[in-house]
Amino acid sequence: MSTVPGTTTAPGVLERVRGSRLLWPVVALVALVVANAARNPGFVSIRLQDGHLYGSLVDILKNGAPTLLIALGMTLVIATRGIDLSVGAVAAIAGAVACTTIAGTTDPTSAGAVTRGIVLALVLCLVLGLWNGFLVALLGIQPIIATLVLMTAGRGIAMLITDGQIITVRNDAFREIGAGFLILPVSILIALAALGAVALVTRRSALGLLIESVGINPEASRLAGLRSRTIIWTVYVFAALCAGLAGLMISSNVSAADANNAGLWIEMDAILAVVIGGTSLAGGKYSLSGTLVGALIIQTLTTTVYSMGIAPEVTLVFKSLVVIAVCLLQAPKVRERFRRHRRTGPAEPTAGVASWSADTDGPSAPGHPVGQDASPATAPATNASTAPKQKVAQS
């Protein structure tokens, strides 16, 4: 969880390589903040007023909380070589359930109504997560497609719950989740707490290792005695819960549930955050601190565009350019070329995760088409991966 030495000039090769996975994202984040500060010095100023912190940076934290939370769940899913496209729809469903429940009680302003709404929403998300996990872990359907089902149907379900209306609620306790302050915004505190908890649970126990091993090769993990299915299932449930919580934040921030637009494209933002943070979509390794940086980059970028007075719709162009740049900088091939330029040869073995080294296997090594990655197929490390793809996928 410690940050990366951002100003490495020429220390030991080992340290450079260790840091370099996060180096570029951090550089990008710092560059964004500096660019903002240069243009508008008020950008970095933070002031305390009525026990609240105010300032652009605080806004970034507050608005980035749902993305961070979803990206957190997504990180673990991607670490198992999966992907969860349904999180945006799940977030919309959570908001819809919470708001309709609160609005439907006799006293919509009471704290009891909020508790009921939140519990109901999270329980439903749990069920949705179980559903995704069931499709992926038990039926063995490719994650991208299994979660596409809920992504398509989910918004329909959310509309069904709200009856196609935008449900507004007036409840101070509910507002706290997304718009409240405990010096810092409550939402980012929740998100950071979740991040801390996950870091603690996965990195201080073997769980993180197990998740990564499932991502590298589910079949081998199973043969080694791991309960691959249980792990995969758990990961999807956790992702859905994160999405639900993020959905509550989003709807609480505006005190309304909009089944159509709440959390729209947030799954894309979350995936981008995870990828920018250095987690490989091929599974097998993940970086929680990277995800944090990635989520902050995405949100800072959005805020930058707003504060620079560029039309907000153009955000997308910037987002795509940054994504392409970061992805290119992280692509094993490009890094390899860089390395050859700087003649720092023996760096390779340090990054010896199976899928990682497979990427740099050689000039003719196959790329990673997503569908193939997403299926629990064999690791494409050797050219013998031709035959058993479908055979392994079914067991």
Partner: protein, 337 residues
């Protein structure tokens, strides 16, 4: 995969895409989709008056011509084992470019060429990045989607209407078929593209390479096939199809707008999957994707005939169907292997 298909169905299997004999195996999903389509259409004909007419059937094509073209492009990409999330945004960009260029007074043929060039260029670019930098197609095309959507808004945030006489003529012009059924030129274009895609996939070396890459990219490389070129070209084709779909869409809507076709890539992917193409690549048919689009269209028609159902039921129905088909695919694959 087709080229190395096991023994007996090899000769017939290749021909099956056009004639569809009852070959158990890889054609089964397509047959199932066809059966589902007939079933849904039959249910509609029994339940609603005036449903079982040639015009309702023709309208399925008229209202979904752009989606058919999109699904064709998507089939190529998915057959290679990739995915293209950018197509919806490219459709929007195409409508926007077309509307703006026409408004600026450029002649229609030039505008069409410009749009096609932009779409194909974007596709090829994404393909090059995917192949040469070995970044996952999912991420690259996601970035492409953001880029294309963003470019729409760079051009303009308002909806621009199209007043060009050629586009108007294409939009209002109809062809009368025997039996009083009327179709538009968009349908003809879409079906021509389907036919061309079938030919390319099953009658050319390029098409066989597409299947081979999807079956196993490393094997295809070892066999000495032009993996890189074909993969990049598949994304190029998808981009080209997306821009053609964009032109058809701008004819259909007679306007250009950055928020056109939001989420259409999902419809395209859903049609391809419902049409029996495996997302892991190597297995599937363009005709299946066409049937997939028709199934989606029939569901929409059913819901609009019912009248009391809200539009969000469409989404739920598509999701359910998607589920049905992937579960069926799983069971089917388990049995054959």
């Amino acid at each position: 995969m087709t080229t190395t298909a096991p023994t007996r169905s090899d000769a017939t299997g290749r021909r099956s895409a056009t004639r569809r004999p009852i070959v158990p195996g890889r054609v089964l999903p397509v047959v199932a989709t066809f059966a589902l389509f007939v079933l849904l259409f039959g249910v509609g004909s029994v339940r609603y008056e005036g449903f079982a007419s040639g015009q309702v059937f023709a309208n399925l094509f008229i209202d979904n011509a752009f989606l058919i073209v999109l699904a064709v492009g998507m089939t190529f990409v998915i057959l290679t084992g990739g995915i293209d999330l950018s197509v919806g945004a490219v459709v929007a960009l195409s409508t926007m470019v077309a509307a703006t260029a026409l408004k600026a007074g450029l002649p229609a043929p030039l505008v069409i060429l410009l749009v096609l060039a932009i779409g194909t260029g974007l596709g090829v670019l994404m393909g090059l990045v995917i192949h040469h930098f070995e970044i996952q197609p999912f991420i690259v095309t996601l970035a492409g989607m953001f880029l294309a959507r963003g470019l729409c808004f760079v051009i303009g945030v308002e909806s621009i209407s199209i007043k060009d006489p050629f586009f108007r003529a294409l939009a209002t012009g109809t062809i009368e078929l025997p039996g009083g059924v009327v179709i538009t030129w968009s349908v003809v274009i879409a079906l021509a593209i389907v036919a061309a895609a079938v030919w390319v996939l099953h009658r050319t070396r390029f098409g066989r390479t597409v299947y081979a890459i999807g079956g196993s990219e490393s094997s295809a490389t070892l066999m000495g096939l032009a993996v890189g070129r074909v993969k990049v070209a598949a994304y190029g084709i998808s981009g080209l199809c997306a821009s053609i779909a964009g032109l058809l869409f701008s004819v259909y809507m007679l306007s250009g707008y950055g928020l056109h076709a939001v989420g259409m890539e999902l419809d395209a992917i859903a049609s391809v999957v419902i049409g029996g193409t495996l997302l892991s690549g190597g297995v599937g048919y363009v005709l299946g994707s066409l049937l997939g689009v028709l199934v989606l269209g029939v569901i929409q028609t059913l819901i609009s005939f019912q009248g009391t159902l809200s539009s969000w039921w469409t989404k739920i129905a598509i999701g359910t169907l998607l589920l049905l088909f992937i579960v069926m695919q799983r069971l089917f694959m388990r049995r054959t292997s």
